[in-house]
Amino acid sequence: MIPAPFTYHRPADIASALKILGEYGDDARVVAGGHSLIPMMKLRLTAIDHLIDLQGVESLRGIRVSGRDIRIGAMVTQAEILADRALAAAVPVLAEAALQIADPQVRNLGTIGGNVANGDPGNDLPALMQCLDATYEIEGPGGPRDVAARDFYDSAYVTARADDEILLAVRFTAPEGGAAYVKQKRKIGDYATAATAVALVKSGGKCASASIAMTNLADTPVWAQDAGAALVGTDCSPAAVKAAVAAMQEAISPVEDNRGPVDFKRHVAGRLLAEAIATAWSRA
């Protein structure tokens, strides 16, 4: 398992990175932590002539928490997310999800940018970002632009980010109320058999708003709008949860793989969602 040769670039700022990306087009790829890309290169599933390492781009680092406004640089690692106290206080569900990614070593190099931008449906943070209605800040030759996480994913590994663009940061408002990320996997280090992100707001004993997204149950993360809507105005009673689960199961389209057949995954997704709603409700 040895990667094919490539030319290595380590630009010091975004402008240089974009320039190299522009120059080599399809033949170039940016790398953050590399824990998705390098295994593909080692298996020679991806051919890359120019590898642009973003570790030297300081502007991609840093976590900003101002009140409920959160901005996380694309090169922030999952371990840094877990270590940031202000972030943990503002958005505990982010740490809950990040802790379920891979293992400690992988989280030390794996970044939020890589996790949300490479379009792997198995990644955990895209669904959470959809749940939280995050915005991705992207920059390309035409300058910076924002894309909603809910509009970002087209199909497996195909996203709204053009080949000559780079993800700069992830921005979102910390949810009010309670949130939860519940994941089932075969073992530590595995992608989700199914996982779900739930955020909801309780007001006067009723659910005032709810947002639900699912991981690895389609070729993209799935924001299950109707499932969230099914909870609004209810007290998240079993009947309401049942309706949310049914709506979610309408929205997902899992495929059979080594983790199990379709009917199993649908069932598990329902059970996890019920669990996540209960947890989020108890935290709201």
Binding site: K187, T193, G260
Partner: protein, 806 residues
């Protein structure tokens, strides 16, 4: 400082002999990163070999174009079957009496099969060159199911054997059939089953898996053309056998071959076989005149070297209404893949599967095994077990559960009712073994009491009731397992591999100052031989274990032995060590008597010295005796103090144990959690309790992996679906439970120190415990049997099939 003569107890403790939890001598280098594994080796001008492998499971190879690869800078050679044919090395014999292609000879029979061998100056150049070798394949129909392989119109897999009706183990019934192996009394068993009050039948599948040690297989071959000597370093669990095989197939005289096993990063059966990588490295070194290293990557390891299990076991067990077993019948369809490369003793093409009557006194039994070719990787190795004993133990421990359900008798009680009784040993089983010793009832009672069995059953019943009331979605499974192993292969009269008797050996030299070196024919892969064999010797010859170096793995220095697998090291080489020690002691006795000026019979051995009988204050220590052996001319005795023993065991040993697993299972997600795991082992005399406990923890964790998800899965096209550690389940510390270990001690009557071996017991015993726990959880809902591995999806499927999701 006052002179303090140590007490006898202090002298015993100072030896760190049998029964001591001596800390391991190996650990100093391993904890400091100074182990010496084969991939750590670097020789001047060393080249690196890498394989072009088949992406297809069954195809004709019509052309290989290596020109572009050869043109790549750094590439030295590309070998194909055509290059090996003139040397007669394009095929090689397997340990099972079959033959296997070294490089694809006209066709490929499994995905990942070796097609060409690229040799380059480093592994990067080799990997690049592999991409450039163009192979033209013509796809052929694929058979991955052994039952379909035996259909009359199934594609012919082994064209080289077409028309051959006689195989290495008797007649072949079909073009994809390898052998039939039969034991026991077919007619008698059939009659007993026909007459029985109750008969339970089940098809039990033990899925295909892989030993998957963390270090993959590899070697460095170095042909010294000046001296005509070939040295081969590698991951060999049986270095002497590799030397003999290498000599036989290469024509290089055996004294001109030196095989060395350096530190080995786990074996578990994966490193017993001889693989094409070894042969190609040797040839490449001969061709290039330079050392050649070959190291598998993980995908290659899983895809090509040595799978384990893949046994379809159809069982019938007959009993009286009150639960006395009257007969057992088993028919196995064994999927061997494209070549029969099992590593079993020659006369046992299905290993010791005929231990499948287990721990029970079954009056009559019959077994037949059909080996079959399919388009899957060759192998069939003993993955931490003694030649198909895991399969046998799983089979009988599932059949017992199935019978208990049919009879409506508690499964613990059913076992106790049928155990071979203590007074029946030595016990002759219906399928031909002589069990050496055992006390099953004592072990079983101890185990049941330790886990609070009756209370667990009550809790389980309450849980079922709560589940039915809708108060919980979790069920409780109680997995029982009582196993008898058969290890220590083995007596030369019936155990050999390629004609090499399965004895083992130890050679001891006592140095003048009273320390020693012992060399053995085995090789540790983590078992800690350097620690434990010194302990055996310390107790035998009274020299502290800390003063004894144990060396293995270099065929130029170690005495001939058949290596380490099948829990044979302690039963066979451990016995050789004790016997060689006794020869040392016999000579030491003569020297002591001479020095003390008494008759030989007037002295006796006492811990670390010989004393005059009745006058223990007059003695000579082993240290004094050692020095005397080098500096005194003792009439009638050669100088020096050395001994060698080649030990041919009179029988196998039969360790046994009782394992109980308590498991929580979520009916909706299939998620399991092990609440308790209790392992009682009886391995006879215990040499080092710390090492034994470590072996049990490790083996039980391998069993956990196998039972709960570890599978070498293929799709219908013969593609390996679980080729990386993402999908091939090796549990982490999080999934692995805490184990409680326990023991009883029933020495082997025929082993010099009564030891039986333990390394593989926990794999053999734990798999049924886990599986039975899963299946037991669903028993109250009518479940009888489901195949392993019990991953989340398959557990969910059991629940779904029982209507528990409605």
């Amino acid at each position: 400082m006052n002179d303090h003569a140590p007490s006898r107890d202090e002298r015993i403790a100072g030896l760190k002999g049998l029964g001591t939890s001596r800390r391991r001598v190996e650990d100093a280098r391993f904890t400091q990163g100074k182990g010496n594994y084969v991939d750590d080796m670097k020789l001047p001008d060393m080249l690196f070999g890498d394989f072009v492998r088949s992406p297809y499971a069954h195809a004709r190879v019509t052309a290989i174009d290596a020109e572009a690869a050869k043109a790549l800078p750094g590439v030295v050679a590309v070998l194909t079957a055509d290059d090996l044919r003139p040397l007669g090395l394009h095929w090689m014999p397997t340990l099972a009496g079959d033959k296997q292609m070294v490089l694809a000879d006209g066709k490929v029979l499994f995905q990942g099969q070796e097609v060409a061998f690229v040799v380059a100056t480093d592994r990067y150049a080799a990997a690049d060159a592999v991409e450039l070798v163009e192979v033209t394949y013509e796809e052929l129909p694929v058979v991955t199911d052994p039952f379909k392989a035996l259909a009359p119109d199934a594609p012919v897999l082994r064209e080289d054997l077409q028309g051959q009706t006689e195989g290495a183990h008797g007649p072949r019934k079909h073009h994809n059939h390898i052998f039939t192996w039969e034991m026991g009394d077919e007619d008698g068993t059939e009659a007993a089953i026909a007459d029985a009050e109750v008969v339970a039948e089940e098809m039990i599948y033990y899925h295909r898996t892989h030993p998957c040690p963390l270090e993959t297989c590899g070697c460095v071959a170095s042909m010294d053309k000046v001296n005509g000597k070939l040295t081969l370093w590698g991951t060999f669990q049986a270095p002497h056998a590799v030397r003999t095989v290498a000599s036989l197939i290469s024509g290089i005289a055996e004294h001109n071959i030196r095989v060395v096993s350096p530190d080995i990063g786990g074996g578990f059966g994966n490193k017993v076989g001889v693989y094409p990588g070894y042969i190609c490295s040797i040839v490449a070194s001969i061709v290039t005149g330079k050392p050649v290293k070959w190291i598998e990557d993980r995908m290659e390891n899983l895809m090509s070297t040595a799978f384990a299990r893949d046994y379809w076991m159809k069982g019938k067990i007959a009993a009286t209404k009150d639960g006395k077993i009257t007969a057992l019948d088993c028919h196995v369809t064994a999927d061997h893949g494209g070549f029969d490369a099992c590593a079993d003793p020659t006369k046992f093409p299905a290993g010791f599967f005929n231990i499948c009557t287990g721990s029970y006194d079954i009056p009559i039994a019959h077994l037949s095994v059909d080996g079959v070719y399919t388009n899957k990787a060759p192998g069939g190795v003993a993955y931490r077990c003694s030649f198909r004993v895991t399969e046998a133990a799983y089979f009988i421990e599932r059949m017992i559960e199935v019978l208990a359900i049919k009879l409506g008798i508690d499964a613990a009680e059913l076992r106790a009712k049928n155990f071979i009784r203590k007074e029946q040993f030595p016990y002759h089983s219906a399928l031909g073994w002589e069990y050496d010793s055992g006390d099953y009832h004592t072990a079983w009672d101890k185990a049941l009491k330790a886990v609070g069995y009756d209370a667990l059953r009550r809790e389980q019943a309450e849980r079922v009731a709560a589940f039915k009331r809708g108060e919980t979605r979790k069920l409780l499974g109680i997995g029982l397992s009582f196993f008898t192993e058969i290890v220590g292969a083995g007596p030369v009269k019936n155990c050999d591999i390629l004609g090499l008797g399965m004895f083992d050996s130890c050679e001891i030299r006592i140095h003048p100052t009273g320390s020693a070196i012992a060399r053995l024919g085995t090789i540790s892969q983590g078992q800690g031989h350097a620690t434990t064999f010194a302990q055996i010797l310390a107790s035998e010859i009274g020299i502290p274990a800390d003063d004894i170096t144990v060396e293995e793995g270099d065929t130029d220095t170690a005495p001939y032995g058949l290596g380490t697998y099948g829990s044979r090291s302690t039963p066979v080489a451990g016995a050789a060590t004790a016997m060689a020690g006794r020869k040392i002691r016999a000579k030491a006795q003569m020297i002591a008597a001479y020095l003390l000026e008494v008759h030989d019979d007037d002295v006796e051995f006492d811990v670390d010295r010989f004393v005059i009988k009745g006058a223990p204050e007059r003695f000579k220590t082993m240290k004094e005796i050692a020095f005397a052996s080098y500096n005194q001319a003792i009439p009638g005795l050669e100088p020096g103090l050395e001994a060698v023993s080649y030990y041919d065991p009179p029988n196998m040993t039969y360790p046994f144990g009782a394992y109980i697993c308590v498991m929580e299972i979520d009916v909706d997600t299939g998620v399991w959690e092990i609440r308790q795991f209790y392992a009682l082992d009886d391995c006879g005399t215990r040499i080092n309790p710390m090492v034994i406990e470590g072996q049990v923890h490790g083996g039980a964790t391998e069993g956990l992996a196998i039972a709960m998800g570890q599978e070498l899965a293929y799709d219908e096209m013969g593609n390996v679906k679980t080729g990386t550690l993402m999908d091939f389940f090796l549990p982490t510390a999080v999934e692995t439970p805490h184990y409680t270990t326990d023991h009883t001690e029933t020495p082997s009557p025929h082993h010099p120190i009564g030891a039986k071996g333990v390394g593989e017991s926990p794999n053999v015993g734990s798999v049924p415990a886990y599986s039975n726990a899963v299946q037991d959880a669903f028993r109250a809902f009518g479940h009888i049997h489901a195949h392993m591995p019990h991953d989340h999806a398959r557990i969910w499927k059991i629940a779904d099939g029982l209507g528990l999701h409605a």
